[in-house]
């Protein structure tokens, strides 16, 4: 694939105590007041990332969408028997609501897309971003967003979707991608790959070996491994889920951390969600 540069990146990671100044980022008080936490997070992170640039595509990705608004609307429906429900809550429960808000606030008529493929949502978006750049678009804004709600975590634990030692996280990371670098470029994508299904630890390591050799990279050139699952570590180990927690689009946080930290050579991001959504990203400084 052609090289894709990360020319701007932003992150809101509430488990780390990130609490941006929403008033400054979303000055429209009315709009801000109506937004749930996930929307606020996503809008703020997206606007920060795209500041000063005319984007030619907006891609938002989320595993489960605005859970708080979805739950609120369900409760209103069950409580009120369908009378006098708040349409804003329903609107905000739709998966592309963040993409729509970003288009409004960026005054952008550009391509606008939303992926909701559970633990591969962000990877779906990355595939699309690469296609768009291959078609000649510039400045593609790509984000991964999910929120944590109490009842959601209870259900995930009952389903066995969260390891007992894992904490349920959330966050909003955005990346401005282009085929040309700027002075501010954080890193470039060399390649990425996804696999759906179960893999043993050995199979994961073999997969990574093959991925690296397909890209002509030897293990010694990898200075940093951002692990969102267990794999053989090359270079420095960064266990990013200890910071952001476990959630469907946590890989976006892993990518953010790896791209921010990488000072030379290559970084590898390996993510695994629910033991069957695997992905690999190879970055280069």
């Amino acid at each position: 694939m052609q090289k894709i540069y990360i020319n701007s990146l932003s992150s809101i990671c509430p488990p780390k105590g990130d609490a941006p100044d929403y008033k400054a980022l979303i000055p429209n008080a009315n709009m801000r007041r109506r937004m749930g936490r996930m929307l606020k997070m996503g809008v703020a992170s997206g606007l920060q990332c795209a500041a000063g640039v005319e984007v030619e595509a907006v891609i938002t990705t989320t595993g489960l969408g605005c859970l708080a608004d979805t739950e609120k609307f369900l409760n209103e429906m069950l409580d009120n028997g369908g009378q006098m429900l708040n349409p804003t809550t329903f609107i905000h429960s739709t998966f592309n609501t963040l993409g729509g808000q970003l288009a409004l606030l960026l005054h952008s008529n550009a391509y606008n897309m939303t992926y909701a493929q559970c633990g591969h949502s962000f990877e779906n978006g990355l595939t699309d971003a690469a296609l768009l750049l291959g078609e000649g678009r510039r400045n593609v804004l790509l984000g991964g967003i999910d929120e944590r709600i109490d009842s959601g975590e209870v259900i995930e634990r009952r389903l066995g979707c969260l390891d007992s030692d894992a904490f349920r996280g959330e966050g909003a990371q955005f990346f401005l991608l282009d085929t040309a670098p700027t002075a501010a470029s954080a890193a470039a994508f060399v390649d990425f790959s996804t696999f759906s299904g179960k893999m043993s630890r050995e199979e994961v390591d073999e997969w990574i070996d093959r991925f690296l050799s397909d890209n002509g990279v030897v293990s010694g050139d990898v200075c940093l491994t951002a692990c969102g699952g267990s794999c053989k570590v090359r270079g420095e180990r960064m266990a990013f889920k200890e910071e952001c927690g476990e959630y469907p689009t946590a890989v976006a946080y892993g990518l953010y951390r790896a791209a921010s930290e990488l000072s030379e050579g290559y970084a590898l991001v390996y993510n695994c969600y629910l033991d069957r959504y695997h992905s690999l990203i190879l970055l280069e400084k």
Partner: protein, 394 residues
């Protein structure tokens, strides 16, 4: 590179499979009526698929006891038909791209009613398929598509975006073929949602009519198989020659009265297809029957086509607004329109709207030499997408 439509599959309120849908369209037989499959306090008509979950499971040869969201059952019915129709063997070089707006909410809302009383209650089987990805993965597994699947959720334009993505992946050589479309099941959550927006018509929906007062919801699934021209094994239905996805950036739910977004989407899709507006023979409109959409879409068509307005109609009076599935189901119809040279009637229309004076096709009409059909799908969040299908080999 030509991306050809080689297989079609559909299930909707007017039938299970392409043949039944075709027959209902030809006879002008609507599937919109009273909701029977689940309890709801809302007394509104909707386009329910007449087949219940137990029967769908039987048709799909699934165990009776399997708890599967209706969204996934509908999807597998249509996707399986499309793959068989194309004679495609799914493998690692085939993409499955599916759209849905509601995912497995039909089961989750049942679960949540019990869960909120006691967080240890509720059958977990009912919530296992909550995410939008669950129906996609269910279908991918049953079709034998090994490549990680893709789920798109851009409200009412979702399936158009799935179709577009499939074509783009084929053009850039990522896959040799793609199974693309969308699925959505009716559920109380969606009904109440659209009710809260006050855009549900208590009577039958009347797209483009002066007295139109909202939409009727519907459910179903529609998938197309897209393949490279070089891989054709038989004559395709048509070619997907153009597509565009734009955002109107006007309002979170409403469309601009002048139809700016709709115009942009149609113009860009036609430009990509290399088709002049006067060569468009039929527009299968989004035509939801809401005052806002139909005015906006009509004005966009007037701005694009001027006094050379092609035939146009909305098929939503037949099947309801099937949301994430709509552009999947309706693109199946558009492909049939091109392959068989006909356009579908816009039921329930009597009076042109005062602002535009436009009248859709109201009778089943055979058209000789139909060359290009535009399919529109517009949605919440300002998402506007248009597709252009063209006759194979002019």
């Amino acid at each position: 590179m030509n991306v050809c439509v080689t297989g079609l599959g559909v299930i909707s309120a007017i039938g299970t499979g392409v043949a039944e849908n075709w027959e209902s369209l030809r006879l002008g037989r609507s599937g919109v009526g009273k909701i029977c499959h689940f309890p709801t306090r809302l007394d509104v008509p909707a386009g329910e698929v007449k087949v219940g979950n137990a029967e769908l499971k039987r048709l799909l040869k699934l165990p009776e006891t399997a708890v599967v969201s209706r969204t996934a059952l509908l999807a597998l019915m249509a996707a399986r038909e499309a793959v068989a129709d194309a004679g495609l063997t799914p493998d690692g070089s085939v993409a499955f791209i599916s759209a849905t707006s509601v995912g497995g909410m039909d089961r989750s809302e049942v679960f949540y009613g019990q869960f909120r009383e006691d967080n240890k209650a509720g059958d977990l089987a009912d919530v296992r398929m909550h995410s939008c990805a669950a129906s996609t993965e269910f279908v991918a597994r049953h079709l034998g598509v090994s490549r990680p699947p893709v789920t798109i959720s851009t409200a009412c334009s979702s399936a158009a975006n799935a179709i577009m993505l499939g074509a783009r992946m084929i053009r850039q050589g990522l896959v040799r073929a793609a199974i693309v479309g969308g699925t959505d099941a009716l559920c109380d959550f969606t009904l109440h949602g659209f009710n809260s927006l006050m855009i549900l018509d208590r009577c039958l929906t009347r797209p483009f009519d002066d007295t139109r007062a909202g939409l009727n919801l519907g459910e179903g699934a529609g998938y197309l198989v897209l393949e490279r021209e070089s891989d054709l094994r038989h004559e395709p239905y048509c070619v997907l020659s153009g597509y565009a996805n734009v955002n109107e950036a006007y309002h979170q739910t409403g469309s601009s009265p002048e139809g700016d977004g709709a115009l942009m989407a149609m113009e860009q899709a036609l430009r990509m297809a290399g088709v002049c507006p006067e060569d468009v023979g039929y527009v299968k409109t989004h035509g939801t029957g809401t005052p806002g959409n139909d005015l906006s879409e009509s004005r966009a068509m007037l701005r694009l086509f001027g006094d050379r307005m092609p035939l146009f109609s909305s098929v939503k009076p037949f099947i309801g607004h099937t949301l994430g599935a709509s552009a999947g189901i309706e693109s199946v119809y558009a492909a049939l329109s091109l392959a068989r040279g006909c356009v579908f009637p816009n039921l329930n229309f009597t009076t042109p709207m005062a602002e535009t004076g436009l009248s859709p096709v109201t009778e089943w009409t055979s058209v000789d030499g139909l060359r290009h059909v535009v399919v529109n799908a517009f949605g919440f969040g300002g998402n506007d997408s248009s597709l252009v299908f063209s006759r194979y080999k002019e």
